[in-house]
Symmetry: C2
Subunit: 336 residues, 2 copies
Amino acid sequence: MTLVDVAKAADVDPSTVSRVLRDDPRTKATPETRDRIRRAAERLGYVANATARSLAVRSTSTIGLLIPNVSGFIYADIIRGASDAARDLGYVLVVADGSELGHAGDAVRRLVLEGRVDGLLLASGTVTDNVAQDLVGEAGNIVVLNRQIGGRGPRIIEDDEFGMVLGMQELISYGHTRIACLAGPPNVDTSRRRIKGYRRALREAGLPFHAGLVVHAGFDEADGYQGMQVLLRKSPPPTAVAAASLAAAVGAMAASRDAGLGIPSDVSIVAFHDAPLANYLTPPLTTIAMPLQELGRQAVEMLHRRLIGEPGPLLVKVEEPAPVLVRRKSVAVPSR
Amino acid sequence: MTLVDVAKAADVDPSTVSRVLRDDPRTKATPETRDRIRRAAERLGYVANATARSLAVRSTSTIGLLIPNVSGFIYADIIRGASDAARDLGYVLVVADGSELGHAGDAVRRLVLEGRVDGLLLASGTVTDNVAQDLVGEAGNIVVLNRQIGGRGPRIIEDDEFGMVLGMQELISYGHTRIACLAGPPNVDTSRRRIKGYRRALREAGLPFHAGLVVHAGFDEADGYQGMQVLLRKSPPPTAVAAASLAAAVGAMAASRDAGLGIPSDVSIVAFHDAPLANYLTPPLTTIAMPLQELGRQAVEMLHRRLIGEPGPLLVKVEEPAPVLVRRKSVAVPSR
DNA sequence: CTGTTAGCGCCTTCAG
DNA sequence: CTGAAGGCGCTAACAG
């Protein structure tokens, strides 16, 4: 089924079919013609071929979202937001899994360079700053999510620092003074920004900073578990910890439990990022809900602007809605 | 940068460039020519345009994977498996989010009908049998994951029945006789197959079946929580429950805890599907690990076969590796 | 061993 | 208001 089949069936020129089926505003086809064409198309089950169209208009109307590990709790929200925005703007959003680091480069090549998508969102998560930068390279149509530092290209970030401050303030308000930071990997921008918030909160509360209380641990459960173990060996151990990810917090809770420590009776925890799961843990976990869906949405809007030649700022920060502390049961007054 | 730019730079015909850059086996270009072309391409940073190629060869070399709710714990494995297989076979895999039901149809249209992908994997998850069937429609290039019944089209399933039997046997071996089934939604094939396993295990153990002990509850945490609440109101309540999903099990654990019941002291739980998270729950959750990655892999292999005109069976069942029971701490002997 | 010639299916001036 | 013609970038016979 092609345009010419429909044209024949409706007894008009293919170009006319093209125009009416696309509702080309510049065409003033008579209602009858329009109707005839539409019916013919309908009857033949015609659907325009996206590939041919893309070639002709030099644009695919699709944008990609590259995610390092789809399993992460937080990506659902980003995808949701991006997906909605994409639809609103007439794009189709496809997500690609770049789990193995080597493959991230692959994906960029096959999606962007080969022109399968008009642009790409790079949810760099665990990818190290350097590789993120390489990936962007010269391509102007890649926007990087949550990488502020060392980026030359377009990027969008959330207020990680403030988010962390929020979490810390909660802990501090309960009287904790010896608070650890279960940070993400070093050399990853989000980690740094979260740590910055950690230090700022300490400073603002007049609390001392102990380098020994921040441990770098990766973002997943196993990382959190191990990180918590090293924290627990400190003397004295912290009475509270701010974890840089939900998964790490889950691991940390398990480590505490295995060490015979109760939460929040012996150690309080707040986690960066919220997800339904947090409600169902034992105890329900106090979290910092970041505007992830909005991040996704604005990322595609930003990409869109660049695609249509209205670049706007190179760095945008998602301010609305602000991060929010979701109080549940994992924080209490310190017992020591 | 197009083929002709490279051709000019290397001073040969575009078709020659095309041939050597693709390593077309039928071409016997002289090493010098090859070299000249490769260098020129390299120097110009040429990358073949996938859209144009697709149009010419009438195939995109990309396949889609439609997932209803990306947040699910189990999709990571499916994606991983599918992604690897796709790469091995020379496809790029893109995943689309069909979270809102209405959008699943949309996605099918834009991906398959408009020819953005050569074929589609439909991880139908929570989608009702009817809509899954509609989606497939006439398209021969859609393979449905985990939908056995009522499908006309190609589909691939895992041995849900056996998986459930495995979980039940564990419970039964500990002496439980009053075992509930926290089932998925009704009218969803996977639910039915899981329930079938539940009944079969009961039967084989000579235990009676009580319809009141199976409650349909959806697949997420909130569903599991509510389902467990209704189970707990039975008199007497079950001493163990087999949950049809990890998320539902998490919800069920929370409901038990909130009802003042200990796990596994008061109620034992096994969950369908495994994920890292299970290790870190309180207590660590005994699960049934299904070969999800293999499911993803075989799904793309199956699609590939159809795409190249070697259809094979319409229904394949993943047999290897077999489902495996992962024993952790959520099962104990009944206290009543 | 390499160039010539047609398309793939659609869009878009430009005429009429 | 509608048709004719050319082209998007690449591939694939078919010559030579």
